[in-house]
């Protein structure tokens, strides 16, 4: 990933002004706005779960087993989205499940991201044998069959939220390493970093003041995309029984237990699945908005595309560069 020459700034932020601009951009791009709104709702749901969930997610009520959602003839307002085979309220489980997904996602992104970024910085900046070693390591580990290994490790050491986070981090740091190293290499070659080095700036200073600020944007986009991937991965692991274990609540886990009642109680599988999908969709929307915002060329192109769409002209030949 290249740090575009034009966008290079050497540290220093304009703080409040920037944030305001960001909000305006968000408002302009409706899909990004929707994504952000959904994320905000999700965060709220996760944080306020005990307050807004009508029941405890683990409260069993064997007399109210497999009740349908409220709009079905057998449903009731007591359990808006129905109950599962142990009488637990689906809505409450969905709400509480968000905590797990967000927690696992954030933790893995932080751990894998930190590890990968540091290694990438080392590889890019030191070069030579360090770079060689780290890249070989990345190349090798990238070729590992990730899910299988994750399953085996979890089977042996026992699945739990912590082990899931560790295993997913173990499998997921390489992409940060590669990206960071690439960014460091391309920025290092720019004239102004060479100038800084000539003037006598120390290595760490160059890294922190010049290289890192240009990394934040692509790194952030990557982290967001990885977050989405981790949410899906955790759900899959829990679905297969090697992730979050009962009595904890996870969307993937709920789909797995609902699988046995696929024909009788379709809602057990449907609502947790919708929750996962909406979460990941929101994250993806925000990620593509971020990519748009951080690349002025992209914005210009998107503008041109909107113009084109309005005009119903012939298909694209090329975009003539403005004189």
């Amino acid at each position: 990933m290249d740090a575009k020459q034009g966008a290079i700034e050497s540290g220093g932020d304009h703080g409040g002004g920037r944030l305001k601009n960001l909000f305006l951009e968000l408002w302009r791009d409706k899909t990004g706005f929707i994504g952000m709104a959904m994320i905000a709702a999700l965060l709220f749901m996760a944080v306020a779960a005990p307050l807004i969930a009508p029941h405890s997610p683990t409260a069993q009520n064997l007399r109210a087993r497999l009740k349908a959602p409220v709009w079905d003839e057998n449903g009731s307002w007591n359990h808006i989205l129905g109950t599962d085979n142990l009488g637990r309220d689906v809505l409450s489980r969905v709400i509480h499940g968000s905590r797990v997904s967000l927690m696992v996602g954030a933790s893995v992104v932080l751990i894998a991201g930190a590890f990968g970024t540091v290694l990438g910085l080392l590889a890019g900046y030191r070069g030579g044998r360090t770079d060689n070693f780290i890249m070989r390591w990345i190349d090798t580990q990238v070729a590992f069959p990730g899910l299988l290994i994750a399953l085996i490790i979890l089977a042996v050491i026992g699945p739990s939220m912590i082990t899931v986070i560790l295993v997913l981090s173990f499998n997921g740091w390489m992409v940060y390493g590669r990206m960071t190293r690439g960014a460091v290499l391309s920025v290092r070659q720019t004239a102004y970093v060479e100038a800084a080095e000539v003037v006598g700036c120390s290595g760490t200073r160059v890294v922190f003041r010049h290289i890192l600020p240009n990394l934040t944007s692509p790194l952030l986009t990557l982290a967001i995309l990885e977050f989405a991937r981790i949410v899906l991965a955790e759900a899959a692991l829990s679905f297969l029984g090697m992730g979050i274990q009962p009595p904890a609540t996870s969307w993937g886990l709920d789909v797995a237990s609902g699988k046995n009642y696929l024909f009788r109680a379709w809602w057990l599988v449907t609502f947790p699945g919708i929750a996962i999908s909406l979460t990941v969709l929101a994250i993806n929307l925000v990620a593509s908005w971020m990519r748009l915002v951080s690349d002025p060329q992209e914005r210009e192109k998107q503008f041109a595309r909107q113009m084109r769409a309005r005009r119903k002209r012939g298909p694209v030949v090329q975009e003539a560069s403005a004189p």
Binding site: L148, I152, V156, A228, G252, I276, S277, V280, A309
Partner: protein, 306 residues
């Protein structure tokens, strides 16, 4: 060219070695493997006998040497669950997994190219926006859930297709679709963005200035230039299909391939079978990587591999 292949093969060997050693370490050193493999009520004598049988009473170094010796003969030992050679089981199940993976990713690839091209020709237009939107949804839906939904809709509601298993040809339809859809979503996005980039290049202008017909400029010149990232992603999707998605999809549809077998092996704590499966999958991954490199060289004569 020969040198390059040697390098790639060497890399492949390292990967396979790395994977197998990792699994070896995990299964023997972490925790108590015997406890994992034997029922709780096993007596001390039974434990000792078991350990001896598996060679677990030897020092770890000797265990490793024995393990490597077996590896070179493709002998992982007898599956603890089915009591027959692990590799035999692997060879039985492998074709089923390959069939599903190739059909699924192949379907995704075949559909992604025209969809992506159409999108790229009128970015921002109606068909493009709907394609992008549907792709975004396809990326966001968990694959296991997609499979279950398909079962609910097609097998339960409409009773058109069977729910699981492998008995009739029709049984492959839903698993293939489940395998294909997320890959299709990602591939369409790549084809689209790749084509958009290529259509903006100078040589495309030249081609039009030469008066070449539209289909040739887009379908021959631009498409070939756009192919590289698409091939990369397709290879990657194939790898993930074999090494990851197969576990999930096969579980949902009770498709008796390597993935389902892996899960069952995990449930039964058959670490021997697991080692054999992981080893085989690692080899497959390396092979697919090499195939991708060959494809690159065919597409782009500029690439000097090695």
């Amino acid at each position: 060219m020969g040198r390059y292949f040697l390098k790639r093969l060497w890399h492949g060997v390292i990967v396979i070695f790395g994977v197998t050693v990792l699994v070896f370490v995990v299964t023997r050193l972490v925790g108590d493997p015997v406890k994992v493999m034997l029922p709780l009520e096993a007596t001390v004598e039974q434990r000792a006998a078991f350990e001896k049988e598996l060679g677990l009473d030897q020092p770890i170094a000797i265990q490793f040497v024995d393990f490597m010796k077996g590896l070179s003969r493709l002998d992982f030992g007898k599956s603890l669950w089915q009591h027959r050679p692990a590799m035999q089981i692997v060879f039985e199940k492998l074709p089923l997994t390959l069939e599903l993976a190739l059909l699924g990713i192949g379907l995704a690839f075949v559909l992604a190219i025209p969809l992506g091209i159409i999108s790229a020709l009128r970015p921002g237009g109606v068909s493009d926006r709907s394609t992008v939107f549907v792709s975004l949804m396809g990326l966001s839906i968990p694959q296991f859930w997609l499979g279950l939904l398909l079962i609910i809709v097609f097998a339960v509601q409409f009773k058109w297709l069977p729910t699981s298993g492998i008995d009739t040809p029709a049984h492959i339809i839903l698993p293939t679709i489940t395998m294909a859809l997320p890959a299709l979503a990602r591939l369409v996005m790549i084809v689209r963005s790749s084509m958009i980039d290529e259509l903006n290049q100078q040589y495309v202008k030249t081609c039009f200035a030469k008066g070449l017909p539209f289909y040739r400029v887009v379908g021959v010149h631009a498409l070939r230039n756009a192919a590289l990232p698409v091939v990369t992603l397709t290879g990657w999707e194939l790898i993930r299909a074999v090494a990851g998605y197969s576990v999930v999809v096969e579980t949902v549809f009770a498709w008796p391939g390597l993935g389902l077998t892996a899960i069952q092996a995990i449930e039964r704590e058959d670490l021997i079978l697991l080692q054999a499966i992981v080893f085989t999958v690692a080899i497959l991954v390396v092979l697919i990587n090499i195939l991708m490199d060959v494809a690159y060289k065919i597409i782009d004569p500029r690439l000097k591999l090695g």
